[in-house]
């Protein structure tokens, strides 16, 4: 963390959280990603999180239009984008107003004083200029006329005023680069590549960047530069990846590994659309990304593509999953492989489209008519979205059943270093396609171990058969209204999903392997839970973390692990949905709950306080 010491020599930091905030048009996302990329290149571990307004072009200067990007860099592993901000860069009064509460006293705030005009101050809802009031006293405030200095630095290159104005984010980035002893090369190269045909834009941005850097260096307005040393990371080739891209790539890797072509049927919805955008780029790998007329057509066309023999997936967020429910039931009945990705957001209804939540767990588990079990798994970090998209595909085609993959807005938009994987190092995927049989083809004949049926695709001679939503007779797949058969088939469909437990890894505990408190979580909360548990464990508490990626079925050793701890607390960003699942499976344990429904991730401090409370409560 930053210190209050202001000697003008380089000071070493273990980790630091920086947040860039401004108007949605101020280029804060670009500024943040540049800072992250440069830091990753220096060997820091990073975790980032963008924060956009839900309005696309909210009125300039208002609090609705504030867009932010937070990055956490460290010389040791970082698992979350960070709770408290060490350095806030606020490009206007609205940005200051909406973000000040995240900055603890003593930390640094950089503001563009040019933007603190009467009009902007009023638009942000301040009565008077906050920079002149005592509310800024607790902070180290660096006031810089960023806009005018930027314009001054590029005045002679002949760029129109609004384009020139747009370079001010680079001036701010230059200042922060100096502050954290970062080189400018990466960002300079970025502009040279990105704006190849716009030399004026390249020139303006580079000049603004350098001007900001020099300004910070020349004037003693700022604390001396910090150094964040490289993290001790596993050697290898890395890239920075966000959860949605990792999800898309995981599916592409699964398609290549399985020898199937990838089909996506999807309808745009926040925060899942980026998976559609990413997959749409990769037609050259045979990826067909079909933007359907609605959520239902998205999933139903996916079932069609699966029937025709492709690795078929659909992507959505909570409200979309609700619309897809009936069709997922059809895929369960037809026993077709497919993956449904739900990038969860705040609900119910339209809810908080740009915020994170874990409140679709029960919908994923039970949100369909009839007895309709599906495999449910959840990714827990931006980079492991890759692995779980791959595993979801593998489970779907090997077990011939739909798999629901849960991620959330937090890990989908957050990014982290990903040690690049190759298709070769991923596990085999064996699909169950058949090309011919002796005698009549029986579509519902099953593998005795997995209970999965075979996959006969149109175009294969001699295997013509019909499937559909009406109850099937076992083996033949003919329509059957027989009472005994219905009970039998209902049990088979359940048993098929239950037996997946034989094919998934056992649950592992991090921290204490037995002891006083077992923290239980699932999905995207891993980073904060791990950070909190780990730091208490290192302080000598007998606390462990059991984080679930496999939800239906649960890992086979779940109960055995629960038994090893005196207390169990289930932490979720909902009202206690996983807690409900666990109490129905293992009613013999008593569970504490920790729940948050604010559209925000857990903060490490709140978790540590909660865990301490439970530990102290004898």
């Amino acid at each position: 963390m930053t210190t209050e010491n202001t000697h003008l020599e380089k000071r070493s930091l273990k980790n630091v959280v920086i947040r860039f905030v401004g108007d949605s048009g101020d280029g804060m996302q670009l500024t943040g990603t540049q800072f992250s990329a440069t830091s990753a290149l220096l060997g820091n571990d990073i975790a980032t999180f963008p924060n956009y307004p839900s309005e696309i072009r909210a009125p300039q200067g208002t609090v609705y239009g504030v867009s932010g990007f937070q990055v956490h860099i460290g010389e040791s592993a970082v698992h979350t984008p960070g709770d408290d901000v060490d350095v806030l860069v606020a490009m206007n009064p609205a940005a200051l107003k909406t973000n000040l509460s995240s900055v603890p006293p003593g930390k640094t705030i950089i503001v563009d004083t040019d933007s603190f005009t009467k009009k902007n101050i009023a638009k942000a809802g301040y009565e008077e200029n906050p920079l002149l009031t005592s509310q800024m006293d607790p902070y180290v405030v660096i006031e810089a006329p960023i806009t005018s200095l930027t314009l001054e630095s590029i005045k002679d290159i002949g760029l129109d005023k609004s384009s020139a104005d747009r370079s001010k984010n680079m001036f701010a980035l230059g200042m922060v680069y100096w502050m954290f002893s970062r080189p400018l090369e990466h960002t300079i190269d970025f502009f040279k590549k990105k704006f190849k045909n716009k030399p004026l834009v390249i020139e303006a941005n580079i000049r603004a960047l350098k001007a900001g850097y020099n300004y910070a260096q020349t004037l003693e307005l700022m604390p001396s530069p910090f150094v964040v040393l490289p993290a001790k990371m596993e050697p290898g080739t890395y890239r920075i990846i966000n959860g949605n891209t990792a999800t898309a790539w995981g599916f592409m890797a699964a398609a290549e590994k399985s020898g199937l072509e990838l089909y996506l049927g999807s309808y745009p919805i926040t925060p899942a659309s980026d998976i559609l955008h990413e997959l749409a780029k990769h037609l050259h790998f045979g990826v067909k990304a079909f933007q359907a007329e609605d959520e239902i057509a998205g999933v139903v066309s996916t079932i069609g593509a699966s029937f025709a023999g492709e690795l078929a997936i659909t992507t959505t967020s909570g409200p979309g999953l609700a619309l897809k429910g009936e069709a997922i039931g059809l895929a369960i009945m037809m026993e077709m492989p497919m993956v449904i990705v739900n990038v969860q957001r705040g609900g119910p209804s339209t809810g908080l489209p740009t915020k994170t939540e874990q409140s679709d767990l029960l919908q994923a588990m039970y949100g369909r008519n009839g007895e309709s079990p599906a495999i449910v798994i959840a990714a827990s970090t931006p980079e492991n979205c890759f692995d779980y998209a791959f595993i979801a595909s593998k489970l779907a085609v090997e077990h011939m059943t739909p798999v629901i993959l849960l991620t959330d807005g937090y890990i989908a938009n957050g990014s982290a270093p990903w040690k690049i994987k190759t298709v070769e190092e991923m596990p085999e995927i064996k699909n169950r396609k058949v090309t011919g049989v002796e005698g009549t083809y029986e579509p519902y004949e099953r593998d005795p171990e997995t209970l999965a049926r075979t996959w006969a695709v149109p175009g294969t001679p001699g295997l013509e058969h019909r499937v559909g939503g009406l109850e099937k007779q076992d083996i033949t797949g003919n329509v059957s209204m027989d009472p005994e058969n219905h009970q039998h088939m209902t049990k088979i469909r359940q048993e098929k999903v239950d037996r997946v437990a034989n094919y998934i890894p056992e649950l592992e505990v991090e921290g204490a392997q037995e002891g006083d408190l077992l923290v239980v979580g699932w999905g995207g909360t891993y980073g904060s839970l791990f950070t909190a548990v780990n730091s208490m464990y290192e302080n000598g508490e007998k606390i462990g973390l059991a984080h679930f990626n496999y939800i239906n079925p649960l890992p086979k050793n779940t109960k055995e692990i629960f038994k090893r701890f005196k207390k169990i607390v289930v932490c979720e960003l909902n009202m206690g949905q996983f807690h409900m699942v666990l109490t129905s499976h293992f009613p013999e344990f008593e569970y504490y709950k920790h729940n948050k429904i604010q559209g925000l991730p857990f903060s490490v401090v709140e978790l540590m306080n909660k865990f301490q409370q439970i530990l102290d409560n004898k």
């Binding site: 890395y238 067909k288 079909f290 994987k421 149109p458 019909r466």
Partner: protein, 337 residues
């Protein structure tokens, strides 16, 4: 005519072993038999046919066909078919659907299938009623029609399937009476040849809940005067005496009699099914007496499934990436030692 590599089929090859369970006298039997007879004429392999459906009486269709098939969920057959066709462009995909299935609950998929001109054949069994759910009015039921859910008479105005299809950009629209197996077979063969979404409206009599809905067009006594069968390139002449025809008067179609008021055969409109301008096709589709049957519109155009495949092949040929490994290793990567 038949390719020597392709097996020769008879209608029996396309009949499944499932017992057909429609009500006796239902037109669905006729359509089923017409399809089973038309498929052997299409010069395609049996394993390349896929029949998909939604929910409703007619949606039982796939179970009775010995082909690949999906009996889907209500209204979604068009979306199923789209996925199948995008996945495998070489299949011959058929949709069996009804007025409730495609014009009510599945209306969105119906219009978008047409907009995209997906190369499938959609048989719309229009009986102007809900059969399977036992007799509620449908989106094609007439104003005033008394049904179980409109005991005082239906007040919801009907869709004209032809108008809806052509309004959605349909490139192929045909209509046929439920009992007319000969014309059905011809249209099915035409539809299969056509590249794009072929919409075939069948005026299907439901003997149980809406018997006689089409009597005014299909009764033996009136049939030749009440149905005008169009053929591309031929004058639109009909009638018992083969002496009635259509002319344009101002912006309206008018029935005239050849030999009366100086009308000669040369005055009669010649059917141009391939005219991209839908104006006349729309008027023909909407005409109530006589009702127009046959292929009203068959305009060649691009299909989205084909475009998708072409673009895929092009980008694949040009791409420097042969494996996703190349993508993962491209762009901004860095080494940790």
């Amino acid at each position: 005519m038949t390719d020597t590599n392709k097996p020769v089929y008879t209608f029996k090859d396309f009949a499944s072993d499932q017992e057909v369970r429609w009500c006796p006298g239902c037109d669905d039997y006729v359509v089923l038999r017409s399809i089973q007879k038309a498929l052997p004429l299409m010069n395609r392999k049996k394993e390349d046919f896929v029949f998909v459906s939604g929910i409703g009486c007619s949606s039982r269709f796939p179970y009775y066909m010995d082909t690949y098939g999906i009996h889907g969920i209500h209204g979604r057959a068009a979306a199923l078919a789209t996925g199948i066709k995008l996945a495998n462009h070489d299949l011959s995909v058929w949709i069996a659907t009804g007025d409730g299935d495609s014009l009510a609950i599945g209306g969105n998929h119906f219009i978008h299938l047409i907009r995209r001109n997906i190369d499938v054949n959609l048989i719309l069994f229009n009986n102007e009623i809900y059969g399977l759910t036992k007799g509620q009015f449908s989106p094609t039921s007439l104003i005033g029609q008394k049904t179980k859910s409109s005991p005082f008479g239906n007040i919801q105005p009907p869709f004209h399937p032809g108008e809806l299809a052509i309004g959605s950009g349909s490139k192929f629209f045909a209509r046929v009476a439920g009992g007319d197996t000969k014309l059905q077979q011809r249209i099915f063969v035409e539809a299969e040849k056509f590249e794009g979404a072929a919409i075939i409206e069948v005026m299907q009599n439901c003997v149980i809940f809406n018997d006689g809905a089409y009597d005014k067009y299909t009764d033996k006594a009136v049939k030749s005067d009440a149905q005008l069968r169009v053929e591309h390139g031929k004058p639109m002449i009909f009638g018992k005496e083969n002496n009635k025809g259509l002319v344009l008067e101002g912006l309206k179609l008018k029935v005239v009699t050849i030999g009366e008021n100086g009308v000669t055969e040369g005055d009669i409109l010649v059917h141009n099914a391939i005219d991209p301008d839908p104006t006349l096709h729309l008027m023909l589709a909407r005409l109530e007496m006589p009702i127009v049957v046959g292929v009203i519109r068959a305009v060649p155009g691009k299909t989205v499934d084909e475009l998708c495949n072409l673009r895929l092949a092009e980008t694949r040929a040009k791409s420097p990436f042969k494996s996703v490994n190349d993508l993962f290793a491209s762009g901004e990567t860095y080494e940790v030692k």
